[in-house]
């Protein structure tokens, strides 16, 4: 035992203890003297981070990441490679960002101007982005409100929840992948995509057109355009449908998904999604019964 208590041990313990002590005292004093008041939440987040200061997050160390997170008020776009997902979840918990239930939303494409319904009249050549095509002309189909079909929205989607249907030339949204982030809505230069309530069992009814031109003009370019005839407005019992600028709009907050409006639309501009198929006869009979009563 005495062998181990030789002078090397002594020197080691003393000098390292001294270095440690001096370092700690100096740090303590400096920290006291040069205190800067900051958002206490930064400390809280920093404490949860690994503290390895490896720079793996692309920022200058853990504190920088903590500051960035607190400043951004969200965890989006931040990642801590050594800490992994667990750490991020801890932070979310600590900051209380997880709570708060949102009504599930989903994006819908409000244009049905497929190549069939709105046949191309001119040929577009050049940069295949809607942003540019929009600045150039009304679109191959001629509808100045319709989908340009260059797929800017698909590009914008970070979740692989959209693709371009090569047949129709329209984007398609995959219900199970869409997280309603709104990127596509922002990207569309014609504001065709709308964020709507996901609905019970993913069921949705909406007017798949945003053309505000007069009926004839709209119809000239596209067979399935809303011509602003107003029949659906009359049909709706719940005041969910409004008519403005020759265009019907279904308010998803008021709509009860009763499925009364789609059949009355003369241009089939009203779409219903994820409903079971209609019983043709019963439906017609019901419609006939009602009509005289109205």
């Amino acid at each position: 035992m005495t062998e181990f208590l030789n002078e090397i041990t002594l020197f080691s313990v003393i000098s390292l203890g001294a270095i440690g002590g001096v370092a700690a005292i100096v740090l303590y004093m400096v920290a006291q003297k040069f205190k800067v008041i900051e958002d206490p939440r930064i400390d809280k987040v920093e404490e949860l981070l690994p503290g390895a200061n490896c720079g793996g997050c692309g920022l200058a160390g853990c504190r920088a990441l903590a500051e960035a997170i607190v400043k951004a008020e969200s965890l989006e776009g931040f990642n801590c490679p050594p800490g992994g997902n667990d750490v991020m979840q801890d932070i979310a918990k600590a900051m209380g960002w997880e709570a708060g239930e949102k009504t599930p939303m989903i994006a819908v494409v409000r244009c049905n101007g497929t190549r069939e319904f709105a046949p191309p009249k001119v040929r577009y050549e050049g940069l295949m982005t809607c942003a540019f095509a929009h600045s150039l002309f009304a679109g191959e189909g001629g509808c100045p409100y319709g989908c340009l079909g260059c797929g800017d929205c698909v590009e914008a989607c970070n979740f692989d929840a959209m693709y371009m249907d090569q047949e129709t030339g329209l984007p398609v949204i995959l219900d199970d992948k869409c997280v309603a982030c709104g990127a596509c809505v922002k990207e569309c230069p014609r504001n065709i995509i709308e964020m709507r309530k996901k609905g019970k069992k993913d069921r949705r009814i909406f007017v798949s057109c945003i053309n505000e031109e007069k009926g004839g003009l709209a119809r000239k370019n596209c067979k399935v355009a809303c011509i602003g005839c107003g029949r659906c407005v009359k049909e709706c019992k719940f005041d969910a449908i409004s008519m403005e600028n020759n265009l019907a709009y279904i308010d998803f907050e008021k709509c009860t998904l009763c499925r009364k409006c789609p059949p009355v639309c003369p241009t089939n501009a009203i779409h219903e999604l994820n409903f079971p198929p209609r019983k043709q006869k019963a439906e017609k009979a019901a419609a006939k019964e009602k009509e005289p009563g109205e």
Partner: protein
């Protein structure tokens, strides 16, 4: 002249990143933008010089006389860590502008093996540096780090605008660039 040789050697011939593999983490991590990498280089230069100075004294006046050189690693890391933290705290208070430019990179530097590596190298027997030479050596290495990280940041910004194939995007392309840079720097072999 001797100092110039030390610096040229450290910057070009035995570049700290490309030939010695030190400081790779910040080299890959903080080189996304030229402006960031300039800030990082400044911070590294500052800390590397200071740390080498302090550890050099500790090594020669505490560890060697007491015959406890084996405590080099542990005492160095303690010194470097607390030194960096101290500098950071002071800088934050005294000069917020400088802190924004350099200070925010300071925490990264604690675990930057370039600092610890250079402090250990500078007391290596085969260099036999005196204090001033050791400090010049540290400055040279910091310059070498700065040169490579800034060059690298430039190339990365350039690659950002290119559609690098998916598999190679990010770290792989960055590493290959580093490899080619290292190849090119081999041309400086034996310059001094």
């Amino acid at each position: 002249m001797e100092y110039i040789i030390i610096i040229i050697g450290a910057v070009f011939v035995n570049n700290i990143v490309l030939a010695q593999f030190l400081g790779i983490c910040p080299y890959l991590g903080v080189s996304a933008r030229v402006s960031t990498s300039v800030g990082m280089s400044g911070a590294v230069m500052f800390v590397m010089t200071l740390a080498t100075l302090v550890t050099f004294l500790i090594f020669h006046y505490i560890l060697v006389p007491l015959n406890i050189e084996y405590l080099q690693t542990i005492s160095y890391i303690l010194v470097v860590a607390s030194l960096v933290q101290m500098v950071e705290i002071i800088l934050k208070k005294v000069s917020p502008a400088l802190y924004q430019a350099l200070g925010i990179f300071l925490p990264l530097i604690v675990t930057n093996c370039a600092i610890l590596g250079v402090t250990i190298l500078s007391v290596r027997e085969d260099f036999g540096f005196n204090l001033l030479e050791g400090v010049v050596f540290a400055v040279g290495n910091a310059l070498g780090f700065a040169l490579t990280i800034i060059l690298f940041a430039g190339i990365r910004e350039h690659l950002d605008l290119m559609d690098v194939p998916k598999g190679m995007r990010g770290a792989p392309a960055a590493l290959v660039v580093a490899g080619i840079l290292a190849l090119a720097f081999m041309g400086f072999a034996n310059l001094v």
